[in-house]
Symmetry: C2
Subunit: 798 residues, 2 copies
Amino acid sequence: MDGNGKETDLEIEAGAGAMIMANDYGRQQDREDNTSEPSSDHFVVVKESFLREPLLLKKNRMNNTSQLAIVGANVCPIESLDYEIIENDLFKQDWRARTKVEIFQYIVLKWALALLIGLSTGLVGFFNNLAVENIAGFKLLLTNSLMLKEKYYQAFAAYAGCNMILAVVAAILCAYIAPAAAGSGIPEVKAYLNGIDAHSILAPSTLFVKIFGSIFGVAAGFVVGKEGPMVHTGACIANLLGQGGSQKYRLTWKWLRFFKNDRDRRDLITCGAAAGVAAAFRAPVGGVLFALEEVASWWRSALLWRTFFTTAVVAVVLRSFMDLCRGGTCGLFGEGGLIMFDVNEANPAYSAPDLLAVVFLGVVGGIFGSLYNYLVDKVLRIYSIINERGPIFKILLVATISLLTSCCSFGLPWLSKCIPCPPNLGDQCPTVGRSGHNKSFQCPPNHYNDLASLFFNTNDDAIRNLFVAGTDKEFNLSTLVIFFIAIYFLGIITYGIAVPSGLFIPVILAGASYGRLAGTLLSPFTVLDVGLFSLLGAASFLGGTMRMTVSICVILLELTNNLLMLPLVMLVLLVSKTVADSFNKGVYDQIVKMKGLPYMEAHAEPYMRHLVASDVVSGPLITFYGIEKVGNIIHALKITGHHGFPVIDEPPVTAAPELFGLVLRSHLLVLLKRKNFTKQKAMTGSTIMRNFKARDFAKPGLGKGLKLEDLDISKEEMEMYVDLHPITNTSPYTVVETMSLAKAAVLFRELGLRHLLVVPKTQARPPIVGILTRHDFMPEHILGLYPHLDPHKQGKEQ
Amino acid sequence: MDGNGKETDLEIEAGAGAMIMANDYGRQQDREDNTSEPSSDHFVVVKESFLREPLLLKKNRMNNTSQLAIVGANVCPIESLDYEIIENDLFKQDWRARTKVEIFQYIVLKWALALLIGLSTGLVGFFNNLAVENIAGFKLLLTNSLMLKEKYYQAFAAYAGCNMILAVVAAILCAYIAPAAAGSGIPEVKAYLNGIDAHSILAPSTLFVKIFGSIFGVAAGFVVGKEGPMVHTGACIANLLGQGGSQKYRLTWKWLRFFKNDRDRRDLITCGAAAGVAAAFRAPVGGVLFALEEVASWWRSALLWRTFFTTAVVAVVLRSFMDLCRGGTCGLFGEGGLIMFDVNEANPAYSAPDLLAVVFLGVVGGIFGSLYNYLVDKVLRIYSIINERGPIFKILLVATISLLTSCCSFGLPWLSKCIPCPPNLGDQCPTVGRSGHNKSFQCPPNHYNDLASLFFNTNDDAIRNLFVAGTDKEFNLSTLVIFFIAIYFLGIITYGIAVPSGLFIPVILAGASYGRLAGTLLSPFTVLDVGLFSLLGAASFLGGTMRMTVSICVILLELTNNLLMLPLVMLVLLVSKTVADSFNKGVYDQIVKMKGLPYMEAHAEPYMRHLVASDVVSGPLITFYGIEKVGNIIHALKITGHHGFPVIDEPPVTAAPELFGLVLRSHLLVLLKRKNFTKQKAMTGSTIMRNFKARDFAKPGLGKGLKLEDLDISKEEMEMYVDLHPITNTSPYTVVETMSLAKAAVLFRELGLRHLLVVPKTQARPPIVGILTRHDFMPEHILGLYPHLDPHKQGKEQ
């Protein structure tokens, strides 16, 4: 590197594509040239260890890095989160000045926010149920009354019409207001908690659409659940509360400055996700475990404790409101509003053949579950082509699926024969109200249609009917077969349309009907009740699609309130997950991957052990001096999309060139905005420390910070200098360039980093080799650089 | 550093205290002298940032480091575990050669071991219960029969005699065979999973004593539980199975070589700990959560899944054996053998005053809980003085406590008046068998002694009696007061004697009696049942002492099989934990600290932000060259107790001195043992790679590896050279010396390291500054160096 710092004139242009050869990049270029000797040395080492074509590789690599630079300059809707503590001088000053009162404020607020998240999510969960039960109940009562009058065509028109209107409203909300609200939302929340901030995924508009879209979608009779959307809703609520409400409407609050960083936001959103599950299933412990097992990527004991508090609040809120509604003051919202499938089985006795039957159930459930994932993936790919064509196409797709669902629900029950009511039920058969076991549908008095009891009901009620014990004869075998096939495929084709749609309920429905079917078929070999089989079938499908274990187990136990079937549920989950894992990934992981979100797995991939950190760093690396020319900074910010830049100190500031730290783009923008510039190179750190507070650099939400366009720098100012030392993180995590990539990946993932600095091994080199970001650890990137490491291709070659 | 490597003659002496100034240390000394300039520079930086007396500090620091070096040379019974993957050439060779069959073997074995751990722990858990129920049952029946004959003195003699014999046997086992088996064992397992391998904590002898000592201890009527010991037992079993049995008896197996590292051992032992809880409480989900929340320091999703499998196996084993025993073939072992407190409460209805009562219960429970911790700590300190005086004193202490316990159990019931049997109980009052609610004790026919029903029973039965619902009048207020006070203090003075003793049961007992007492007192204000109050009281005490939340909640739910009381249990746990946390730490953390185990907390202490990595590195640092003289290595191994040494390459091997990696003491010993030496400095890497396999360097259990004394190196060989490159970990984790100590601590803890290398910031310095180990992050060490940072002292000064 040239120590004299040959600062040439610099002209800032819009669309500076051609500028890449100018000052900064030129400096970088020099450095690369200077270091070509050690670099090739390094390649010799790599070659010795395993590479076959080092020269070709090097070429490939250079190409790729320049491509990356161009990609990086584009506006990217996905941004990585940074869980590292940015220890710059301002932070340290602020941290030292922090009083006991402020620490107390922070702790109080942390718990107050957890309380608020619990309260709000509980409220929304209750409201969601209340609305769904009332809308769907009204729809079913209307249709039922027409059916009783034998006006079948009008009944269908009313039924399908209601469904269509609700579906289209949900689709319009989704397509025009918040496209991010479509789907389950769990993959997005999972990705967020892994460190990926996708555009508007937790925005207030998304929250609004998620709540109302989910209500309309579920009420429209789609085979969708409200569980996934509730998780997303909980996360949105947490995000909104953590910001003190929407910034647009200026509700932010001074105390909340403590939470303006990615770490605290992560904690809040984890609480929110857990609260969502707790509200959806009325399962507080299950909610905590779900957040722990499926959603969160980082976890610590303190968080367990706070999440637990949040879900406890949710449970109390739900219970209080349900007590309020017990008097019948909530319209059609009855006891069954929130799912709680009371199987009421006594101690289930079982022996070896029963266990065999359960294992068999698990194996087949695992196969069906992984097939479900496979088909959902295919359908999503087709739908994404349709959905990309515009909002109108989205709405048309929703309308089509709604019509198809209505036809199935209304049409298929005609295939079933009317069954005479069993005498012991008395008045309960056929059911008069909107829910219940024995729907009369087209049947004469004192008869019921068993298929209608499943189809012509809300999803929750259908599950309840399937789970119930001691009713071996209630459903015909053919009924269960028809229902299972219909629901299995309806569930698959419904996920992916532009409506908030959870996967839990479709999977539980399909699994419960499969379980009941299997139980009926296996009844000669086992003494277990078909209702219990239905529950185990649901568990097997959940294990086969979502691949969770402990949390599903606890959620099912909390749903059914029977701990004694625990060993059986555990067994079936273990079997089905093991079977399904041998075919493909869990459905949420699959969706995360399909959406192209750069999810970091907890473990390093095996091929990473063949590489070292410097093999994958993407360039060109742009560095700043401790006291840098304003123009250089502006230029660098303009030509790249990078978010972190190493800061180098050179003589005369230090004896030799050395790495001072890492400065963030967002911090640079804040610093430049206030124009603390000097004509000469000078240490103005103390001035800056006086003029700024650490909170000025607090991280705003995605897309809300300062932008380069917000700066107004004159041509003279471009020639001035600014001292970057006070805002530079002096403790960035570093790895030596020869560090195994696998170990660097573990470091990156475990500490939740955004930038990992790669420093040189030998001393004769400039003090920084490059920066590793999330992107550099992605299989696509690594295997793009080193295609021969691809395990799939290797298999084919051999 | 002198590049010429002035190798002087070296004489190896026994007790080389004076040798510290010889070759290696001399080299180190040179380096320190050479680097004094940048070092003082560095101190200026520190001074600028916050230090008041840098000179004094520096002096202090030098003293301290030399002291440390001497301490390090002593034999230390505690060793840190290393969860880092040691990526040296041999590992890489082995890793690349790994076939698909081997990977499959590994996965199969992992699950097979989980299965075996589950089976064995389940078996041991059942055996434990069977033995306790039979021994204690026999003792109680014998005493009862004497009581019925009104031979009160003989009855007392029989009762106290049985207790004394059992207690002394347990104490002899503990004192002479395995002192590590005394106490709960949970703190030790927790420390192990944090990375601290204390002497013989998981040895086969410990396992043996833990199983039988726990049986005798519980049967001897001590106020101790079998839960902690079961956790320890599970961990011991897992360790033993992971080694393929005891090495002494040569049961080790080829396949198990995959598990000869600290990472896989950690996973197995986590499974074992979870299995222990599951076996003790018959609570499989609770077991997993307990392991997650309290015991494990590192966790990942894959482990959740395997732990869950293990506890499911435990549940199935226990259930099968209990089914076997249902016919009465297991002697006095009845249905109640394994704790399962069926409260059988229907939906508990509650309103605002009830919630207030529960909050009050939680507050007082939290205070009592933290007081319990405080008193246990004090008692443990007194007992450790007694216990240190020798095994005889240990046994005498056990005998004293046993006599005291017998006196209490037998004597206190005389304070209670006889209560006439309620007519509705019929034949059930007074109880004839060994367990039951209404013990007759000294009372006339058709009367019972309510205090005897609690005291004169096994602990499990006493808890069951307290938890039972709908029996408001069964116990007098005075009875509950006496029992609560007696059990509270007996529990405190019993923990710490030389007998395996769990803390769960004493705490649950005290909490349950407190809860019942509170429930009786609060009955005018609340409609909640006293049995439910008893359960909530137990929860409040558990929350107040152990500070777990989710796992206690789930364990209690699994024990009582009533999910509907979940919100109340959550509430009381939250309140009591919050209250207790404001007084002191959890009981297990307290014991870990008292035992001096260097436990690494998950978060960094605030004062660490004031320091940088180089402020705490302990020296003198001993480094090796890539090709090193055998004598130097032997000397270094002799004069220090360090387990890792940086390896430096110098010209002509490299252009400039550079850090090649880190070599471990254990690996050096293996290498030296085979004597692959050369007369001249030469790269003999390929020879070594041929002669060794990676498995030769697999980590044996603590204290089982090669020792320096096992080497037999002649005087000529001392002058020869050995190539350390193939066994050097080329990817050690590093931090720059100016890295904030807090961030270095997070890195160290999150990645589970044993050595963290500190590299210099400037290039004019030798390539390594020092090594951070667990010791360097301990508050004692840091605050010893920088006493003015001590938050307690600061408070006093101001």
